[in-house]
Point group: C2
Chain length 428, copies 2
Amino acid sequence: MSGNGSTALLTDMYELTMVAAALADGTADRRCTFELFARRLPDGRRYGVVAGTGRVLESLQDFRFGDAELSSLEGVLDERMLKWLADYRFSGDVDGYPEGELYFPGSPILTVTGTFADACVLETLFLSILNHDSAIASAAARMVTAAGSRPIIEMGGRRTHEQAAVAAARAAYLAGFATTSNLEAARRYGVPAAGTAAHAWILLHDDELEAFSAQVEALGTDTTLLVDTYDIRHGIELAIEAAGPELGAIRIDSGDLGVMAHQAREQLDSLGAVNTRIVLSGDLDEYAIASLRAEPVDSYGVGTSVVTGSGAPTAGMVYKLVEVDGRPVAKRSSSKESRGGRKSALRRYKPTGTAVEEVVHPAASPQQVGPHDRVLPIPLVRGGDTLPDLPTLEEGRERLRQALVSVPWEGLKLSKGDPAIPTVFPEA
Amino acid sequence: MSGNGSTALLTDMYELTMVAAALADGTADRRCTFELFARRLPDGRRYGVVAGTGRVLESLQDFRFGDAELSSLEGVLDERMLKWLADYRFSGDVDGYPEGELYFPGSPILTVTGTFADACVLETLFLSILNHDSAIASAAARMVTAAGSRPIIEMGGRRTHEQAAVAAARAAYLAGFATTSNLEAARRYGVPAAGTAAHAWILLHDDELEAFSAQVEALGTDTTLLVDTYDIRHGIELAIEAAGPELGAIRIDSGDLGVMAHQAREQLDSLGAVNTRIVLSGDLDEYAIASLRAEPVDSYGVGTSVVTGSGAPTAGMVYKLVEVDGRPVAKRSSSKESRGGRKSALRRYKPTGTAVEEVVHPAASPQQVGPHDRVLPIPLVRGGDTLPDLPTLEEGRERLRQALVSVPWEGLKLSKGDPAIPTVFPEA
């Protein structure tokens, strides 16, 4: 185990009742493929960003039913099932899009192959991780695009579940955020952490100048002073009085941020603090960031909007049985239809490097791969073992950076519209 | 510790840099009160539901900096600060609204008193928990109201972070949901778990009748058969063929649910299955549930909408320093103003039991409490120790049930509007 404790009960009860019934009727060992994909992108979004695959693989190592887990299931499941869970160790294969890859409707983001029982029990956990992390990364990527070369600090941990906060910081970093406020994300994933002081620091002191001077004394001249507790203009004056014109940065967290940034820049320049940076925060999202493009801002702090997926808090991915003993299967009633059969995917590009279409095809019918095209899924797990040398978080970050360059320009617009490229489904 | 591991790094870096600076300049020991509250309710909501207080108290016990936490902070913080963290144990007081209580803009949901350093470091963790859990409970309560006497199963774990899923199941149960699909919520908090089978169960088998028969064989006649994999009408026929008219329930997860429920009820009755219940699921939220009020539905399964707060995924609560050494303090610039000073609150009621207003007053100026009024905060922690005999999750559930009865009838409407009762702030 990775040391984070068992992940086995982060599971919907019906996964286990199904397996119990399958052990009873002899179908548990049928060879199955489950496919994890999004039927559609969140309303008006142009692309999605795959995030969480690394956490999926970690969580798989910890998917074990120990005594604590088993005793909580006594009375709910029969003896045969409890025995099976005690011995559970995934022995199948997993393929998937690497983190930082774009996805579109129908992209086979993760493909799990094994016995029915082996693969069924992983549904809830895998969906939880990918639905959450991809929702955050997809929103974060839009903010990074809107911010251009200006760095963004993720500071939304206080607005979401305390463990979701850690995963959100990771996903935002994958998507190109520069730093996070979250210390556990720094420890667990090596995301660079940042932070200096809140309004409480100013209010704690008898006056603002005293607070600024003490902060500079403790954290150095390169610190960021929060200047909007009382009066911003006066705050900036005192900040430079306390730190001198070599002050690292000021932060403004309220008010009309565009106007404030403009006035602050003029004032700082007039005080000789020409290299003092301006950090803006306070209810920023991708639209607010885009609207500040022409203002003299050096970096952004983003909280609520990124950890809640900026209007799309879940990616809406599903995990569907698509193949049983080599036979394609699919739900066929009124809505929520699926395409049966195990699939693979490639993305076609123009010679210029611009993406043209997502081709999702039967795995048994490989497509011609042109010189500019890219096969998307990579092998992740074989026979239950996570493969060595899988892409790192830093590599995912670089992958996304490159992927966004390849998106047709309309696809990078923040306004609502169709997916940036169409998904096509050639038949076998 | 409660055994869940340290919660100390689920914290924004600036909490620790502030305390380091306060240790350096001698302000760390100033006696402070921080107040956790919501400036406003999510857009158009009539009330909020406090949830997470129980988890806050658990997490406080685990807020300890051990070797793993401290070594990750070396190089970031100075020796004095690391030493202080190693010895950290909250020694102050906490008061707050009990779980299941309603809250309104400005309600002092949690009040933390102690030295600046003691109380400052808890900000991020306390906000994460209360912002998440209250967002879920507030949405869930609207769904429970819309469902009337029909039970709801929470089944959204797959749509949110895997640990947020556990807290969401707890919060939904607090708000009146009957059961959850989440096994860890059952183990950790005793929430009743439920679940039978997914579409994969049907697709795994060579035909639908075989799947139904095997499920009834394994799980009993009282199970719930999922009838919408192929053709609902035929599915119901086969379900009764497999289980007989004593079948517990059928579930429909797609299509026009109102029409389907109606047709299914007629068909079941015609087959003699007059006691077979109808469970509906599939993208339900409070509005969809309300629209099904006249249809023959027995229970609902709700996923995405409840775990994402049905449009309001965070409660937007803040944690503000309001008092230092007995002196009220507050931010005073353009927006995001706060009211300084430690506060308490009571709710006034008509003799009929209908709530009239939320009175948030200086703690030093107690208000007259009429025979029908209720003082809202209760003591939770004294001298760092969690008090015994605090309200249980079940008691919180009952508290909310009673609180909702007291809301003026307009306040229970699902449509957007003002808070159900006004908050008034009498001066000292």
